[in-house]
């Protein structure tokens, strides 16, 4: 049966990787590094020379090249990421401020990417404000656009950095800089997207003020979204071959898996230690690596779940 699916994934990481010990010495962690190590983290990639745009271009170029996609055969480019940061080396906050105060604010990464990649037929749409769920939203939008007959091939690109002035920890997760590009096509032979679910709770928009409520709401809402995704795919929790996670604390994943009734050993968690938590698209980076290392095989049933800090919970069911 044909269905829109993921036909390619590529990602780009900065050159520099820093260990937890280095980050602690630089004062970029809030928690004790031994606690973060218990949660599965080891180090993260930190952009010290690159811009978000440079990584986005590298990831997008890689996916188009690897899959031999002609530049004029992409119908839609969906770009996720904070546009003000896109051209700033290291995500420099000072550079962002300068751009926002000038007509530099109209220099958009989506437009430039369309030009640099030569996607002459592609229209562009940018997505923002969804934290770690942006790339999921792009895929949902791509799937809907394809289903509506308005596109056959959509390129989704996400690039997110933490500004250099920010620390490297968010709610006990160690954060990395990265970019990820995903191709979504109308009749995908593999990695077909069978279902999705999303829950947005605007009440939590002021995440800092409602931190305790957010901690309490994370798990029940995540369970609800996962249950709904599985139900729409016609799967039970035991049907799931692999959970392809966002790279947050492995402990929190163990709790969530206990809640939804999926065995712990089905969590593909190799990249929590290697890469850390990127806002750009952990799940898809992990999907690529899980396919490459032979963990994911054709026909496997994959559950991808992510949470956008504050108000967004989302999941996809994908048949490999």
């Amino acid at each position: 049966m044909s269905a829109p699916g993921i036909t390619g994934v590529a990602y780009a990481l900065p050159a520099r990787r820093r260990s937890l010990t280095e980050l602690a010495k630089l004062g970029q962690l809030e928690s004790d590094s031994s606690l973060l190590a218990q949660f599965g983290f080891d180090g993260v990639y930190v952009a010290e020379e690159e811009t978000p745009y440079a990584l986005a271009l590298a990831a997008a170029t890689a996916v188009l090249t690897e899959h031999k996609v002609p530049a004029n055969d992409v119908d839609l480019l969906l770009y996720c990421g904070t546009s003000a940061l896109a051209f700033s080396p290291r995500g420099s906050a000072a550079d962002v401020a300068r751009r926002l105060a000038t007509t530099g604010r109209f220099q958009y990464p989506a437009t430039r990417l369309q030009y640099d990649l030569g996607l002459e037929r592609a229209s562009t749409i940018a997505l923002d404000q969804l934290a770690c769920t942006s790339l999921f939203a792009a895929l949902r939008l791509a799937r809907a656009t394809i289903a509506a007959g308005e596109a056959r091939r959509v390129l989704c690109v996400s690039a997110e950095f933490f500004p250099e002035c920010a620390g490297r920890e968010a709610i006990f997760n160690v954060t990395a800089d990265a970019a990820c590009a995903v191709l979504v096509e109308r009749a995908a032979p593999q990695n077909r997207i069978l279902s999705s679910a999303v829950s947005t709770k605007g009440y939590y928009w002021d995440a800092d003020a409602l931190r305790n409520e957010i901690v309490a709401s994370y798990f029940p809402t995540a369970k609800h979204v996962v249950d709904e995704t599985l139900q729409r795919a016609g799967w039970s929790p035991h049907d799931v071959t692999w959970v392809i996670p966002h790279n947050v604390s492995v402990r929190s994943w163990e709790i969530l898996l206990g809640l939804v009734g999926i065995p712990r050993e089905r969590l593909w968690d190799h990249n929590v230690a290697r890469i850390g938590h990127t806002l750009a698209g952990d799940n898809f980076i992990n999907l690529r690596d899980a396919i490459d290392d032979g963990s994911v095989r054709p026909g496997d049933r994959l559950l991808l779940f992510s949470y956008g800090y504050g108000a967004h919970w989302t999941a996809l069911a994908v048949e490999a």
């Binding site: 709770k201 009440y203 409520e213 901690v215 994370y218 798990f219 029940p220 163990e254 709790i255 206990g258």
Partner: protein, 362 residues
């Protein structure tokens, strides 16, 4: 009972003790009561004082800290002891719980032994002496222990064993958790169930240990007081353990969460906050969650989680309390939980939400 004879009541200042004392005195105009209190100046008999004498004492002390005169009065006049007093804090360390609940009972049993006449020992225990046992819980004393969820349960279990071993004439009452005064739902005294409900409403409960078979067995003060007043002094209750529980009228935990959620969701302001109904989880997953909060939570969420940790694991240990002995003796049973639960919830929040849910405003 002859006019010169009396009952000794501990815990008469509590909601249940007072309600039972009122009923006992109302049922027998000749009955006199001696109430054991920590501070006699704080005792108010609510119109009963003509036949009630307050004496100062401390359950934790050998001899209860009674003066010689009071001790003699009790020895000569008391024909029954109705023992309500307990330290009901679930978070107590074991030694602290035992000091009042176990040693205190032992001290009372010693006093009963010293009385000149045979004394009925009516011991108010708790249904949760069953601790970690699951399945049908019989009205008996011989079931082997499976451990306990908190020190309160253990200390009350140990007290029951002392009663059986040392009292000549005893009856043991095991009430479920009392959550409201009567079927109209008024709440006179807050406990862990009410605190948990407030956290639930405030959106601060991430998950609850439980299974599909878990139930909530809660009762009204009215029912428990009537049952104890009816049986405390009755000869045919001797040697009986009576579960004062809803039994098969208990509510499945999932139903209770759903109906409470649906009730609150009628309020559009509450509904639009998007608070999720907490899922039921196994004890291992809950323990992992608790451990994580201990490691990374801020002080307030740690405090909230700890406040639940001493009793919520009980929800994952499903039990059905048998009530046939109590029903046969009483001729009536507890009202089904469904009959009063939502009225209780309504009354609990009649004056609006507590500050627990108002962190944004703070």
């Amino acid at each position: 009972m002859p006019a010169t004879q009396a009952i000794l009541v501990t815990g008469a200042t509590g909601l249940l003790g007072r309600a039972v004392l009122q009923r006992l005195l109302a049922s027998d105009a000749r009955l006199r009561a001696i109430v054991l209190v920590r501070d006699a100046t704080r005792w108010s008999g609510a119109g009963l004082h003509e036949r009630v004498t307050a004496v100062e004492g401390d359950l934790r002390s050998v001899g209860l800290g009674l003066t010689g005169e009071v001790h003699a009065l009790i020895r000569q006049q008391v024909r029954a002891i109705v023992h309500f007093a307990a330290d009901t804090r679930f978070s107590n360390p074991l030694a602290q719980a035992q000091a009042v609940n176990t040693a205190g009972t032992e001290h009372l049993l010693e006093l009963a032994y010293e009385c000149t006449s045979s004394v009925r020992f009516a011991h108010v225990s708790t249904a949760f002496v069953a601790g970690r046992r699951t399945g049908t819980i019989a009205e008996e004393l011989d079931a082997p222990s499976a451990g306990w969820v908190n020190a309160y349960e253990q200390s009350k279990y140990e007290a029951e064993q002392l009663v059986r071993r040392h009292a000549a004439d005893w009856v043991i009452f095991r009430p479920a958790t009392v959550v409201c005064d009567d079927c109209h739902g008024a709440v006179s005294q807050l406990n862990a169930v009410h605190r948990a409900l407030r956290l639930y409403r405030a959106g601060l409960v991430a998950m609850i240990p439980g299974t599909d078979r878990s139930t909530i067995d809660v009762v009204t003060t009215d029912f428990v007081a009537e049952a104890i007043a009816t049986l405390a002094l009755r000869a045919d209750a001797a040697g009986c353990v009576a579960h004062l529980c809803a039994g098969d009228g208990a509510l499945p935990l999932g139903d209770l969460l759903d109906m409470t959620f649906a009730y609150w969701a009628r309020d559009s302001e509450w509904r639009r906050r998007g608070i999720a109904r907490p899922p039921l989880v196994d004890l291992n997953t809950y323990a992992l969650f608790e451990r994580s909060i201990e490691e990374v939570g801020d002080p307030s969420i740690k405090r909230l989680t700890r406040s639940l940790s001493h009793f919520v694991p009980q929800l994952a240990l499903p039990k059905l309390f048998e009530t046939s002995t109590a029903r046969a003796l009483l001729g009536f049973g507890a009202p089904p939980v469904r009959e009063f639960w939502l009225r209780m919830v309504e009354q609990l929040f009649a004056e609006g939400d507590t500050a627990l849910g108002a962190t944004r405003a703070a």
